[in-house]
Symmetry: C2
Subunit: 343 residues, 2 copies
C-alpha cells in the first residue's frame, strides 16, 4: 500500500514537472491576416486540405486517393502554362521519365544554364504531368529551362528509387552541361530530395550543382522540429505531424532508419554544399525544418539565404500565379541562381 502510494506520488510529481515544462496554449480563433495579398488571403482562408486525416487502408486505395488529386491538378495545367507562357514536353533520360519545361523566352544570361527539378508530394504524389506545376512557375517567373524528374514513387517503389532516378538524371546531365551552370530545386519532398541529391553527389564524388533551392524541405522525417507542434492545426495544407503527408512518406521510408541523412538530410554533413536559398512561410508546419537546415548550412560555412513568407502554410507560394508573393518567391530564387551559377 505504501509502495503503491509512493509510486502514485512519484508519477504525480513527474506529470506536474512535465506539464510545467510544456507550453499550455489555449484554443484560438485566428483571423485571415490583412498583411498579405488578396490572393494569399484566399489561400489562408481555405479549410484544412480535404484528405489531411484520411488514411487509405491499402496500397491500392492510396493510389486511388493520390491519383484523384493528380488528375485534378492536371486539369489546371493548360491554363497555367498559357498564363505563364511555358511549354512542357515529356522525355526520357537514361531510362528515367522527365519533362522539359521551357519558358517562351529564356533569359539571355540563362542560355547555357539548366535547372533540375525534383517534385514534392510527400514522396508518393504528383507523378506524371501533375509534377510540372512548380517548374512552370519557375520557368515562367525565372525564365530558365528546366528538366523535371518524374521519379518512381511508392507504394510500388519505395526509397531509394526516387533518389536513384534523380541521380541517374543528374549523372546524364553533367555530361553535357557544366554542373556549375546547373541548379537543383524542389519543394517539400522535393526539398528533401534536393538536399539528398547533393549528399549523394558528395558520396559518389560527382560534380555538385552551382546552387540549390530546397523549398520548405521535409528535412527531418523523425518528427523532430518545433513547428510540428507550434503550427499544428495552424497550417491548412499539412495540418499536423503524422497526418496524410507523413503516412505517404512512410510508404517511401518503408521501415528504414529515419535518421539516415539520405532520408532526413538535416542530419547530414552539409559542408561543401553549394549556395542555397530556402523558402517557407510563418504558418508552415515545416518552418522549423526549413530554418534548421538554414542554420546547419550556415554553421557549415555555406552561403545560404532564407525567405519566409507572411501567413503562408506549407508550400503555398506556388498555388496562385496571380499572387504577387508567388512571383516574388520565384524571382528571388531566380536572382539567387543568377548570382551563383556559371554562364
Amino acid at each position: 500500500m505504501t509502495r503503491i502510494c509512493f509510486v502514485f506520488l512519484l508519477s504525480l510529481i513527474f506529470s506536474v514537472a512535465a506539464k510545467a515544462q510544456n507550453r499550455e496554449v489555449p484554443a484560438k480563433s485566428i483571423p485571415v491576416p490583412q498583411t498579405v495579398s488578396p490572393e494569399i488571403q484566399k489561400l489562408i482562408a481555405q479549410p484544412y486540405s480535404g484528405t489531411w486525416n484520411v488514411f487509405p487502408p491499402t496500397a491500392e486505395e492510396w493510389k486511388k486517393q493520390i491519383g484523384a488529386v493528380e488528375a485534378a491538378t492536371v486539369k489546371g495545367l493548360p491554363a497555367l502554362r498559357e498564363q505563364l507562357k511555358v511549354k512542357v514536353e515529356p522525355t526520357t533520360i537514361d531510362g528515367v521519365k522527365a519533362y522539359i519545361v521551357t519558358p517562351e523566352t529564356i533569359a539571355p544570361e540563362n542560355r547555357n544554364r539548366l535547372l533540375v527539378h525534383v517534385h514534392g508530394g510527400c514522396f508518393a504524389s504528383f507523378s506524371g504531368e501533375s509534377l510540372t506545376v512548380e517548374p512552370i512557375y519557375m520557368a515562367g517567373f525565372g525564365r530558365y529551362k528546366i528538366v523535371a524528374v518524374d521519379y518512381r514513387v511508392p507504394p510500388d517503389h519505395p526509397y531509394p528509387a526516387a533518389l536513384d532516378d534523380a541521380m541517374t538524371v543528374w549523372k546524364a546531365l553533367v555530361k553535357t552541361t557544366p554542373a556549375k551552370n546547373m541548379a537543383i530545386f524542389g519543394s517539400s519532398a522535393g526539398g528533401n530530395l534536393t538536399l539528398a541529391m547533393v549528399l549523394r553527389a558528395k558520396q559518389e564524388k560527382l560534380p555538385l550543382p552551382g546552387a540549390i533551392a530546397p523549398g520548405t524541405p521535409m528535412s527531418d522525417l523523425t518528427g523532430a522540429g518545433d513547428s510540428f507542434q507550434t503550427n499544428a492545426m495552424v497550417d491548412n495544407v499539412l495540418v499536423a505531424y503524422g497526418a496524410n503527408c507523413d503516412q505517404r512518406a512512410k510508404l517511401y521510408t518503408a521501415g528504414r532508419d529515419l535518421k539516415d541523412p539520405l532520408l532526413s538530410p538535416v542530419y547530414g554533413d552539409l559542408s561543401g554544399f553549394p549556395p542555397a536559398i530556402l523558402t517557407t512561410g510563418t504558418r508552415d508546419l515545416l518552418l522549423s525544418n526549413t530554418v534548421r537546415v538554414h542554420r546547419k548550412l550556415r554553421q557549415a560555412g555555406v552561403e545560404a539565404t532564407l525567405q519566409v513568407f507572411e501567413g503562408q502554410s506549407h508550400a503555398q507560394y506556388y498555388r496562385d500565379p496571380n499572387a504577387p508573393e508567388s512571383r516574388e518567391a520565384f524571382e528571388e530564387i531566380a536572382r539567387f541562381f543568377d548570382k551563383h551559377l556559371g554562364r
Copy 2:
C-alpha cells in the same frame, strides 16, 4: 418582425462566413523541443514572463515596475562582462547619455569601425546600465567597439525623444567616423529605432550607415502581423499582442498615428537602405513583423538577410551567453557587418 428576422438571418450568415474564414485552433500542450541546445531548452521551458499581463495604473507605478526589472538586470552585468571580456564606460555625446562598450580585443579589421546600439525594452524599459546587455554580447562575440545610446524614455519622454537622442548621437559620430564604417543595431524596440533612424537619416539627408541589424523589430505598432495571432501564448517573453510590452509602447506613441513610418517602420519607404540582417525565432510573437520587413527590404532591392532560430521566443538570442545559438546569432551579424562595412 420579418425585418428583424432578416437582420438576424443576415448576421447569422455573416458570423458563419467569418468563422469559416478564421482558423479554429484547438488547445495544445507543446513540449520543449529537443532540436535546440540545452541552454535554449531551459529558456523555452520557462513560464510566461512574470509581468506580461500586469499593467500598472499610473506613470509612477510603471516606473516602479520598469525600475525593478532594470535593477535585477544590472545585478547580472559584472558576471556577463567578465565572461565575455567586455568593458563598459558611461559617456555623454552632445548632451545624450551613452555607454562605450569595448571588447578586450577589437578585431584588427574592426579598428576603424564602430557600431551604434539602440536598446530594446518596448521603448520604456532598459535605460541606464541595464541597456548594455545586448552590446556586451555583440562586443564579446563580434569584437567591435560599440556606442550604446541611453535615449530618454516615456512616460516622461514620449516619441520623438528616443529617436531625437539617437539621431543626435548619429550626427555627432558621422563627424569623426565615416558612416560607411558604422552599423546600427538593436532588438525589439531597438530594431524599430534602428529602422526609424535610417528613415530619419534619409529624410534629413544625413549619411547612412554601412549596414544595419534590426533584431526582431517592433516594426508595426498597429497590431498587424499574423504571428501576433499564431504565436500568441506560444511566445513566453511577449506572450500576446496588447500585453505589457504594447502598453509600454503606448507610453511612447502617446496617441500618435501608429501608421507613421517613424513609429511603424514597415510602412516606410525602405529603398536605399543599407544592407540589413534580421534575426528572429520560430516562436517569436514578432516573427511576422521581422519577415515582413525582410520582404519589404528585398522588394526595395536592398541586400537583406534573415536568420530564424528554432524554438526561440522574442529576442531570446541574448539571454544566455553559454547558449551556442547566442554566439551563432552575434557572430553571424558580425560577419555580415564585416562583409558590408568600410574599413
